[in-house]
Amino acid sequence: MTEPERPNPDVLLTALQKEEARQKHGKLKVFLGMAPGVGKTYAMLEAARRELTAGRQAVIGYVETHGRKETDALTEGLELIPRQTIEYRGMTLTEMDLDGTLARHPRLVLVDEFAHTNAPGSRHPKRYQDVLELLEAGIDVFTTLNIQHVDSRAEAVRQITGATIRETIPDTALDGAEFELVDLPPEELRARLAAGKVYVPESARAAQEHFFRPGNLSALRELALRFAAEHVGQDVLAYRQAQGIADPWKSGQRLLVGISSSPTSAALVRWTRRLASELQAQWLGVYVELPNPLNDDEQERLNRHLALARELGAQIIHTSDADVAKGLLRVAREQNVTQLVVGKPAGWRALDLLRGGSLLNRLIRESGHIDVHAVRAEGEAPLFRRPSPVRFNASNMRGYGIALGVVAAVTALNGVLQRWAGYQTLALVYLLSVVVLAMFVARGPTLAAATLTALLWDFLFVPPIFTFRIESATDLMFFCTYFVVALAMGHLAARLRAQQAAERRREQHATAMYLLTRELAQATDFADLLAIIIREVGKAAQADVALSLPDENQDGSLSAYFTSTWAMAEKEQSVAAWAFRRRQPAGRGTDTLPSAEGMHLPLVAGERVVGVLSVRLRGEAALDTNQRELVDAFVRQIALVVDRQRLREADQRATMVEESERLSKTLLNSISHEIRTPIAAINSAASTLAAARNSSPAQVPWSMVDEILEATGRLNRLVGNLLNITRVESGHVKPKLDWCDVADLIQVTLKEIEKDMAHHQLAVEVAQGLPLARLDFVLMQQVLTNLLLNAAAHTPPGTRVQVRAATRDETLVLTVADNGPGLPAEALPHIFDKFYRAPAARAGGTGLGLAIVKGFVEAQGGRVQGENQPSGGAVFTVSLPVSKPPPISPEGTL
C-alpha cells in the first residue's frame, strides 16, 4: 500500500482560502451558448425553477424573453426585481437595478446577457461588472453568454465569421464560474432561425445570413465546447490540488507577450492569455518604449492593448529601449520568462537589413533558452502603418515659422556671400543652417527646411539661375547629395531630440518620485504626513486632491482629511467609498462610474486598504498614460508610507499604554509592600503573643491581643480594598480566566471569612451538576467575599444569608440574598458607586466593597445588580457568561 502524496501546505492553504473566499462570494453559473438562439435564457429559467422547487429562493434581476411565449411562461412565479429606467438623449432605457438587487439581497439572482453594455449613466459601463459586485456581496448569479463575447475567443470568432465583436467580457470575469453548455446542433438552430424563433436585432438582419452559415456554426460550436471543456479542466485542477494529487502540469512556465500600438497586438494578447491558461502559467505583457514618440492614434491603441492585457490577467511591464528585440529579451531574462510571443511579420522590410535582420530573426537568434512563438495575427484595422500625420498645432506652427525665417535669412546671406564664394560653397552654408535648425525644431520643420533650401539653392544660385534646371552633371550630383544629406541630418537630429525628450520624461518621473519620497520622509507625524501627501500630489498632478481615511470605528465609512483641497460632493464621496470597498480605482478615466468628476484611487498596501486618494484635474483633459503612470507610482508609494506610519503610531500607542500599566503596577506593588509590611509585623507579633496564651501568666490582658489581631485584620482588608479599587479605576484588572468549580469557589470563600460570618446563618445552595465555569477564581473569591461581608455588615446578627449558584442558558447566576431590612430605596441607584455609603449604614465601612464587586464582575464580562426581594431583604445577583467546558474522556476504575 502506498502512502498518498501529502498535499503541499501552501497549496492546501491557498485552496482553503479560495474555498473560503468562494463561500463568502456568490457563485456564478454561466449558461454558455455558441450563438444567439440556442436557448440559453430558457435553460437558465428552467434551472432557476428547479432551484425554486428544491426550496431555494431565486429572483429575476434582468431577463430578456424577447416576447417568446414559452420563455415568458417560465418566468411566471419567479419574483421580479423592477428594472431601473435611465433617460438618455430623449430615449428611455431600462437596465437591471443593481442597488435594488443588492438591497433585496436574494440568495440567487438571474441576470441575462452577461456581456451587455449598460446605458450611459449606470454605475458600471458593463453588466458583467454589476454581476461581479453582486457576487462580491455573496449573491449567487445565473447568467447567459455567447462564446463570441468571451474576450480571449473574440478574435477567433471574428476570423470564423468575419463579424466584428464589440461587446466582450474579460476572461477574468469568468474565473471560478461554473459552466453549463447550452448545445444545439447547427441544423436545428438554422431551422429555428428560419421559423423566426431566433431574435435578431433589426440592425443585424443583413449580417444574419452570413453569421448563421452552417460552417460558421460548426466552428462556433466547437469553440464553445472547447471553452467549456477547458474550464471544467480548471475545476478538476483545483480539486486535484485540494486532494493532494500531484500536479500533472508543467510547472514554472512564464509567458511574455510584446505589446505595441500595432493593430495586431490585441490578437496576440488574447492568444497568449489562452496559452497561459492552458499551461496554468503566469504571463507578462511588455511594452518597449521606443525613442520616437507615438502619435495620438497609436498612443490610444497602445493604451487599449495594455488595458486589455491587464484585464486578461497579465502583469504589465514598461521598459525603454532603442531596439524592441533587445528590450523584450532583457525583460524576459530579468523575469525568468520561458516562452516569448511575438507577431509574425506581415512582410519584408528593407530597414531590417540595416538592423541585422527582422525583429523575429534577431529574437530567435538571441533568445537562448527562451522559446519564441511567432503568431500570425490579423489586426482589427488596416495593416499598413500610417505615417504619422503632420500635425499643425501651435508648437509646430512656431517651428515652421522659425524654419521659414532661418531659410529666408540664410538665403539673404547667401545673396551677399555669392560675390566672393562659388555657388557650390553656398550649398554648405545652407546645409549648416539645416543642421543647426534640426537641433531646435521638430522633424517636420527640419525636413521642410531641407527641401526648401535644396530648391532655393537650385533656383537662385545654380546656373542657369532663376530656373530649376541643372545643366552640369557635377551640379546634379551635388544637388542630389545635398538633398539626401540634408534630409538624413534633419531626421537624425530629430530622433536625437525625441530620445532626449523621452529621457527627460523618465527623469521627470524619477525626480517627482524622489521629491515625493523626500517630502514624505520629512513628515514628523501622521497628520503632517497626510498634509504633505495632499500638497505634493496636488502640485505634481496640477489637481485638487482629497485624501479619505477609514473612520476609527471600522464600520467602513470614510472621511476626508481636513487639509484636502477638494471638498467632495456626496456623489464623489460615494465613488471614493466604492473604490475603498472594492479596492479598485473608480471614477473618471476608469471603468467604474467614468462620469464622476475625479479619479478615486484606493491606497492598497499588502492586504489592507489604508485610504482613498481622490484627484480632480483642473481643466477638462483626462490623465494621459504618462501622468496616469506617475499617479499610480505615487499611489503605491503613498499607500506604503501611510500604512507604515499607521502601524508605527499604533505601536507607539501600545508602548504608551504598556508603560502606563507598568508604572501603575510598580506603584501598586510598592504601596502594597510599604503598607503591608508594618501590618505584617503587628499581626505577626500579636499572633506570637496569642500563641503563648496557654503557657503564659493569666494576668496578661488577652482580650487586648485579640483586639489587636482583629484590628489588624480589618486594616489589612481595607488596604486590600483600596488597592483593588485602584486597579478597577485604572482599568488594569486583567482577569485570568480558568476553569473553576463554582462549589469549590463558594466553599473556599466561606471558609476564609468564617469568623466574620459567625453571627449569621449561612445557607449554600449549589445546583446539581453545575458545570465548570471559566472565571478568574481569585477575583470571584473577592466578589463573593465582598458581597457576603456587605450582607453581614448591613443586617442584624442572626439574619439568614443565602448563597445560590445555578446556570441559566449560558449564564452562571450567583446570588447572595438575606432576609434583613433590605436596601433603602434612595440608595438603590448608588449602591455600586465608589465611596457611597447607605444613609443608615453602620460605622466602619468604606463604601468600596460593592464598587470592587462591580469592577471585577464587569472585567470578566458579567453584570451585577442589587435589589430588594418581594419577600423582604436584599439580593445581589451576579450573572456571568459561561461556555461549556471541553469534554473529558471517561475511564474505568483500577
Binding site: R676, G720, D738, D776, I888
Partner: protein, 233 residues
Amino acid sequence: MSDTSATKPNVLVIDDELQIRRLLRAGLEGNGYRVLEASSGQEGITQAAQHPPDVIILDLGLPDMDGIAVLKRLREWSRVPVVVLTVRDREEDKILALDNGADDYVTKPFGTGELLARLRVACRHALPATDSPIFRTGDLEVDLTARVVKLKGREVKLTATEYSLLRLFVQHAGKVLTHRQILKEVWGPNYVEQTHYLRVYIAHLREKLEADPAHPRLIGTEPGVGYRMQAES
C-alpha cells in the same frame, strides 16, 4: 520535630525589613530554630553558600533583586527548602515561585503558627523518604506499593488517573502543588493548560475520599495557585 537532634535547625531569613526580621527571629528562636539573617538578595545568596541553612524564608519583594531571581540562583546549586513570603493578591508571584522550585509560601500578614507549620513541612520533605510505603492521614490510608487506597479500613476504588493524582498529593503531603505542576505530573506536559481536567478529577477524588465533599479537609484549595493535601496524620 520528631527527630530532635543535638543541633537546632538553621533558618536563613532573607528580607529587607528589619522589623520583620526581628519578629521572625523572636518567633523562630522561641520555637527551636537558629536564625541567620540577610537584608538583600545578594547577601542572602552569599549567606546560603557560606552557612548552608536547613531552610530559607525568602521575601519576594527585595530591594536589590527580584525574589524569583534569588530563588533561581539558589536552585542552581542547592536543594535547600525555601518558603516564600508574599503579599496577598499576587497569585502569579506565588505560582512563579513554586514553579521555580520554592517549597511553599506564606502570605503577609501571616500568623506565626502558620509559618511554623509551613517550615515543618518543608523541612520534612527535605529529609530522605521514610521506609514506610504506607501513608496515613485522618481516615485515609494509601499503600503506595500495593496501590491500595483505604478509607476507614474499607477499600476505595479509584480510576488510574485518580490514583496518580492521589499518589502525587501523598508524596507531597502538606505542600502546595500548583495547577501546572499537577497537570504536568499526572497528565503530561501537553496538558498544563487543561485545568478543567484537574477540576473534574479533584471533584471526583473529594467525592470518594472526603467525609463531607462540600467541606473538604483532605485536599484543600489554594485559591488561584493550586491544591494542598493535609499532612498531619
